[in-house]
Amino acid sequence: MAPVATTFFFYFLSALTVLSGVLVITRKNPVHSALALIVSLLGQAALYLMLYAPFVAGVQIILYAGGIMVLFLFVIMLVNIERAQKEEQFNQQWLVGLAAAVALGALFVLVYIKGRGLFPDRAIQMPEQSNTQQVAVLLYGNYMLAFEIASLLLLVAVIGAVVMAKKRI
């Protein structure tokens, strides 16, 4: 598909993602911050699309926005929110915050200068059709072991959750 006005979309999407990321932290009402998080996740999915990775974008939407965020909203709703809103934001440690910001900024600048040659300036034109196959081949080919271990870990987590909730069912 011939790319259309990619630069505009790229800046718009990344601004959207960053902005909603900031919103997540600053919102007082937990539900609003959860929604902001969803918006930023969708922004990331759109960015994946820009990088010709539709499969990863689709999975991102299903898993993050559709699955995990719904659980987040579930928990937020079951815990009554009035109490959460009353605790005001503890942002007295200005000094620590400032130091962390400076360190992070320095790191960015370093990467930007040093890494000029690292990233290829023109992204390699991967045909869109093959993205799903590419992911499948990698996932079940080279990284088969990691895939199995991850699934095992998830299985343990699920069983743990069931055991914990067992006494109430």
Binding site: L78, V79, M164, A165, K167, R168
Partner: protein, 381 residues
């Protein structure tokens, strides 16, 4: 809202896992599934019902107080307004109680007409129960089938005594209207019309997997608990007790007909559904036998215009569609009864709701209220 549920002895289990405390939900009095003006306060732990408290009395009209200021015949129409769904059997109970007081016997023709009309009314009441009960559980269609067939019965009532619901068809001493010309033919036509219709309801519901799943083992009550709580009627029979006043202490002309009493085994909502469906078939059998041999003769016994029953008291009860409907009448010799006490089956059956529903889910509360077949006019009197 003063905490009405404090007295419920709820099993104190440890702090709930999430800090979601118990939810007190108010179901009614304007709730689509409470069959009238009944308010049930549910104490919920998430979806599970911990305890219930019924708040009734919204439809209390003081019928028993009015009875003390009316003569015996004047009070007759009030009786129909109590269980307005099965008005004919209310009237039958009252008239027979006063006839016993006066030591008067209704002539055989009147007794036969009384049996036919009461059984038709039982059919109508069970049909209304089935329609609304299925609607509460989610099946929309049976409601329209049952109401279409119930319409036929109401047409017969209307032709016989002018009124469809609160018929006031009986008087103390017998019936007041002679059966209109063509009564037997129309009732026979109705019998053939409705027999296959019962099959239609069964087709829709009895083997419907979701219906079975929603009613099996829901609101279980054992025979012993039924008797202890004074629950009577189809609910008692569904728990396995083979007891029906029409057979145990026959009144009107029930002794002349043979019909059997359907009985369930494990007293859950599904058994009550089956028992009532069988009961409808038995009513058809009774009407069939009765319509054939209505004896001719007078329809009204010789009763003084102004009745003055001797001093004394009487308790007479009949098998209303909902259970044992009893009248305890005390007379002091004057034209007005000194005290009329009505023993309403729905009032006592509703008492069993709390025991049947504890530990069940909210959806089951709706199903159990439906299966108890309560009418609030009778509960509140």
């Amino acid at each position: 809202m003063i905490d009405r549920t404090s007295h419920l002895e709820l099993e104190q289990h440890e702090r709930p896992f999430l800090d979601s405390n118990e939810l007190i939900i108010n179901m009614g009095p304007q709730h689509p599934a409470t069959h009238g003006v009944l308010r049930v306060i549910l104490k919920l732990d998430g979806e599970k019902v911990l305890g219930t408290e019924c708040v009734i009395g919204y439809l209390h009209r003081g019928v028993e107080k009015i009875a003390e200021h009316r003569t015996y015949t004047m009070f007759n129409p009030y009786v129909d307004r109590m269980d307005y769904v099965a008005a004919v059997s209310n009237g039958l109970g009252y008239c027979e109680a006063v006839e016993k007081l006066l030591n008067v016997e209704a002539p055989p023709r009147a007794r036969y007409i009384r049996v036919i009309l009461t059984e038709l009314n039982r059919l109508a009441s069970h049909m209304l129960w089935l329609g609304t009960h299925a609607l509460d559980i989610g099946a929309i269609t049976p409601l329209f089938y049952t109401f279409r067939d119930r319409e036929e019965i109401l047409k017969i009532f209307e032709k016989y005594c002018g009124a469809r619901l609160t018929t006031h068809a009986f008087r103390i001493g017998g019936c007041v209207y002679e059966t209109y010309e063509g009564f037997e033919r129309e009732v026979k036509k109705f019998l053939d019309f409705v027999a296959p219709k019962l099959g239609e309801y069964e087709e829709l519901l009895t083997t419907n997997r979701i219906w079975v799943e929603r009613t099996k083992d829901v609101g279980k009550i054992s025979a012993r608990e039924c008797i202890a709580l004074g629950v009577t009627g189809p609910v008692l029979r569904a728990s396995g007790v083979k007891w029906d006043l029409r057979k145990a202490q026959p009144y009107a002309a029930y002794a002349d007909f043979d019909f059997d009493i359907p009985v369930g085994e494990n007293g859950d909502t599904y058994d009550r559904y089956m028992v009532r469906m069988q009961e409808m078939r038995q009513s058809l059998r009774i009407i069939e036998q009765a319509i054939g041999k209505i004896p001719d003769g007078p329809i009204m016994a010789k009763v003084a215009k102004v009745m003055k029953p001797p001093v004394g008291e009487i308790y007479h009860s009949i098998e209303a569609p909902k259970g044992e409907l009893g009248y305890f009448i005390v007379s002091d010799g004057s034209t007005q009864p000194y005290r009329v006490r009505v023993r309403p089956p729905s009032f006592v059956n509703l008492q069993a709701l709390d025991m049947m529903v504890r530990g069940a889910l909210v959806a089951d509360v709706i199903a159990v209220i439906g299966t108890l077949d309560i009418v609030l006019g009778e509960v509140d009197r």
